[in-house]
């Protein structure tokens, strides 16, 4: 009597069919994307591994010093040194390479989308629930199609990371562009700026501090995906965490885990510092 009537929809099946169809028809495109991303990751990773260990620590120290304080620089350098002593140096580099690539792609896709959303109310209305879905849909769900499209490995990891980490930079770009002072926009208009001049010379620079806050968020979320992404074959620190779970290896688990935390702290503080530098002179009125 009270039980749900015998009606069923097969939405999951439709999605599966769409995924199958995309996989068949757009194989070339996916292969191309896979190739480009894996080249980027490998390029960055090769460079980072090629760097002498002390020079990488030096770079981190300098970044910390420039964007924060000397003390911060020393601390960050020490964190990196510690990760090295755990024997996770190359894993760390892989993780950094994956994150950098993911963030780079996020920015390339996310900033234009955010700008578009700021300009078009209709597009914004369509995108908003999509962004909500991207952030709340359990990541394991899209790991499966990721493997379909790109196979096991770092590229699938990047894809999964993108879905999770993209929303903040899009949202904050939209917010930032919309939030530019109305009088500033009017004054740019009153001088006869074209739409493009307005965007490039006024709106984007004015919006930059907020966009940078979005970049910071996106980077942190990309880092949060490191372990989950390793389930589809991403290497690096996440993989080590996964291995330690399988082997019930508490020592390795802790070392890999704390390394991720160290990276998170360093990346967060440095991107925050970058945002802070942009903030200077831009927050008047």
């Amino acid at each position: 009597m009270g039980s749900f009537p015998d009606i069923s929809t097969e939405i999951g099946l439709y999605v599966k069919n769409i995924v199958d169809f995309l996989d068949d028809s757009l194989e070339g495109l996916f292969d191309f994307i896979a190739l480009m991303s894996s080249r980027t990751i490998n390029g960055i990773e090769d460079f980072l591994v090629w760097m002498p260990w002390w020079s990488f620590i030096l770079v981190i120290f300098l970044l910390g010093w420039y964007f924060k304080t000397v003390f911060a620089g020393v601390l960050y350098g020490f964190f990196i040194f510690l990760i090295g002593t755990f024997g996770l140096w190359e894993d760390m580099m892989t993780t950094i390479a994956i994150i950098l690539t993911a963030v780079l792609i996020c920015l390339i896709i996310g900033i234009p989308l955010g700008v578009w959303m700021a300009f078009s109310k209709g597009f914004s209305t369509v995108m908003r629930p999509l962004l909500d879905a991207m952030q709340t849909m359990p990541s394991f769900v899209y790991l499966i199609p990721a493997i379909f499209f790109f196979g096991l490995g770092n590229v699938s990891a990047i894809f999964a990371t993108l879905i999770y980490a993209l929303p903040p930079v899009i949202r904050l770009t939209e917010l930032a562009i919309r939030g530019v002072d109305k009088e500033v926009i009017e004054s740019a208009q009153s001088f006869g700026s074209s739409r493009w001049q307005m965007l490039r010379k006024v709106q984007l620079p004015q919006a930059l501090p907020t966009i940078m806050a979005g970049v910071n968020q996106t980077t942190m979320m990309a880092l949060a995906m490191v372990v989950i992404a390793s389930m589809v074959g991403a290497q690096g620190l996440g993989e080590q965490v996964l291995v330690s779970i399988n082997r019930i290896d508490i020592a390795l688990g802790f070392e890999a885990g704390i390394s991720i935390v160290f990276l998170a702290i360093i990346i967060d503080r440095i991107t925050n510092g970058v945002a802070g530098k942009f903030q200077k002179h831009r927050g008047v009125n």
């Binding site: 500033v184 009017e186 009153s190 002179h281």
Partner: protein, 402 residues
């Protein structure tokens, strides 16, 4: 003077279907009625104005009167719902995107209430902005920008950022940025309202000074009656989206179009609006320097005054002669030259009463009023300075007693 800007029956209504509301406004419904019935806001309704080349035209009204909406129609930041806007006899409402861009780049520049500066750019880069948009070569725009920064008195601040400057200085940047484009027309939307009173006064004077040199056509918005009357050659008063009266400050003070305006100008400081010209007496009695003391005495007797100005052929003041001195001179057979006194004050016909008060207090004699060519055009008795502060028709209700 030729007409620079002419607007005809301009209306601006905000809302989803602005055009549908026009008939309602035509039928005389109020702003509030229309808002509650149709959810449209009437910004400006049926405004027609003519602004002459080289004049400072002030649009005055309280907040919500539609003045800021109207000024934004002049460069189409607001596109009018109905009506035409002619600049140099061309209707810019009909312009396409490119033509509009060109007019904005070359003919009209705007200064904003909260300055509208680009906080991410240095002062120099701010002032260069309009030129940069027009693709003017780097060296040239730098040169023009530096010149204009100097005009507004900010030399040495080129490399600072807006947030490092005070409000008054920021608005100078706004002004320099507008001037850098060398526009014919300067739109100023309450440019000094955000500044404190002392700086505001200073900026007003400086604006007039710059206007003297550059002779732009200025449309100036303010809610401050005193400001409007001080700097405006002509003033338009707006209320609820309607232009209620247009005229020179004196015309508006003399004949307010309705109670609203009378109320508005009640608090006006007359001493800063009424000029020497308006309270002076045309000189019936004048003595040429070639005349003798007897002529002077006769002139004074006929006009019932106790002193008279002596002028040369070009009507330039040479001095003043008192009745006592003249009688003495006749007795002692002296010439007019011997009894000429020089301790009188000369004022310009454009000077405001507030500036005359100290001079009137110091001087024993009437103030001589001269025009641009230093010709004597009238004189002012001390009593007129005071009565000019309270009534309108001093020159008619007088006895000439010094």
């Amino acid at each position: 003077m030729t007409t620079k800007i002419k607007i005809e029956h301009v209306s601006k209504i905000f809302g989803p279907k602005p055009k549908t509301v026009i008939p309602m406004v035509e039928s005389g419904k109020s702003k509030e009625e229309i808002l509650s019935e149709t959810n449209h806001t009437v910004g400006v309704y049926d405004a027609s104005l003519e602004i002459k080349k080289g004049e400072v035209f002030v649009i005055m009204g309280l907040s919500g009167s539609g003045k800021s909406t109207l000024i934004r129609c002049f460069n189409l930041l607001n596109k009018p719902t109905a009506g035409s806007i002619y600049i140099d006899d061309e209707d810019i409402v009909k312009y396409d995107k490119e033509q509009l861009k060109k007019v904005r780049q070359e003919k009209i520049a705007m200064v904003f209430q909260h300055f509208g500066l680009f906080s991410h750019r240095t002062i120099l880069a701010n002032v260069e902005y309009g030129l940069e948009i027009r693709n003017i070569p780097k060296e040239e725009r730098r040169e023009i920008a530096l010149k204009n920064i100097e005009i507004v008195g900010l030399k040495g601040y080129e490399d600072k950022y807006p947030d490092e400057l005070s409000g008054g200085m920021q608005q100078r940047v706004g002004l320099a940025r507008a001037l850098a484009n060398d526009p014919d027309i300067l739109l100023m939307d309450e440019p000094f309202s955000a500044l404190d009173p002392l700086i505001r006064r200073e900026m007003q004077l400086e604006l007039l000074d710059i206007q003297d040199r550059l002779q732009k056509t200025i449309v100036f918005i303010t809610h401050d009656v005193n400001e409007a009357f001080q700097i405006g050659d002509r003033v338009a008063v707006m209320k609820d989206g309607h232009v209620v009266q247009v005229g020179t400050p004196e015309e508006i003070i003399d004949a307010p179009a309705n109670d609203y305006i009378s109320e508005f100008i009640k608090d006006i400081d007359r001493s800063k609006v009424v000029q020497a010209e308006h309270i002076m007496i045309k000189p019936n009695a004048l003595v040429s320097e070639k005349d003798g003391p007897k002529v002077a005495i006769r002139e004074m007797e006929e006009n019932g005054i106790s002193s008279v100005f002596v002028v040369d052929r070009g009507r330039r003041v040479k001095g003043i002669v008192t009745i006592d001195d003249a009688i003495e001179a006749v007795k002692e057979k002296k010439g007019l030259q011997d009894i000429l006194r020089n301790d009188y004050s000369i004022v310009h016909k454009d000077e405001y009463i507030s500036d005359l008060i100290p001079k009137a207090l110091e001087s024993k004699y009437p103030l001589a009023v001269v025009n641009e060519e230093d010709k004597l055009v009238g004189f002012i008795l001390r009593v007129h300075v005071l009565s000019g502060l309270v009534s309108d028709d001093v020159t008619e209700s007088d006895e000439y007693i010094v």
